[in-house]
């Protein structure tokens, strides 16, 4: 399929003009990739914070449960 597509298209000139065109499209793709990488890093930080907060909430609940048991025992 790809072979047929390539066979049916004119050869891409990779001379001086080709370098500039490739440069422009690569810049665009690099910008998008950098942006997505920054967003992924941000998401990773949020996930870590969420894990810590979930752990903290569980710890608080466990402490609350222990205190409640103490009060009931008295």
């Amino acid at each position: 399929m790809v072979g047929l597509l390539l066979a049916g298209t004119p050869a891409l000139p990779l001379d001086e003009a080709g370098k500039y065109v490739a440069g422009a499209y690569v810049v665009f793709l690099v910008l998008i990739v950098v942006y997505v990488a920054i967003m992924a890093a941000k998401l990773g930080r949020m996930e870590k914070e969420l894990r810590e907060l979930a752990g903290f909430a569980e710890q608080r609940r466990a402490e609350g449960g222990a205190e409640h048991e103490k009060v009931s025992a008295r």
Partner: protein
Amino acid sequence: MYGKGLKPLSIATVVAILAAFSLVFFYAPLDADQGFIQKIFYLHVPLAITALVGFVVGGVFAVAHLRSGNRKWDAYSYVSIHMSVIFGVAVLVTGSIWAKASWGHWWVWEEPTLVSFLIVFLMYATYYPFRYAIEDPERQARYSSVFAIMAGAFVPLNFMAVRMAQSLVHPRVFATANGGLPGSMMFTFLVCLAAVALLWVTLVKLELTAKSASGQLKRLRRALDAPAPGGGGSRIAPEVG
């Protein structure tokens, strides 16, 4: 809330960009005047149009914020402008590459189209220090909205002024009296414009989703910081470095 529909939108964007680039390289004919270099047009012009429209959209959201007082619209305005600034960087870089290839110079100061876009870009680059110099969130949102409206109104005015100015070397593809682009080139261009606009929408949605999640995390941290019912004093949730 904002993340709803993000996955299909992302898939549609990837498909649209792949289709657009395939059309650029395998369908659109070579330009008789510029040859292969003209392929940059299909990336550079849609990026420029999307960035400029994005700035205006940011102004429209700012109007909605000032009218309703709802901070949601301020977030929409901020993210629209932020994404358009990123697209603006791509416009300047791809434009410089095209200028070097076509005219032999990375930048031509005598060309009003280039300089006017740079002015718009630099104006929006001041949006960040302006916004974050204000600490009070209410005032920050209000003043930023005023900035977004004023700057958003400047964008079409600037565009019209450049159109009316006598062009030196920058081509006016859509203004030629006898035709402009041939059908296959126009079709490719429109697909590219749709793909780049879709990318802008997807990235705006992604940024809004991240902002919303971050805000909810802050609320959760505040809730956990509150004193436990039945005494015990304030519990400070751990800070994430």
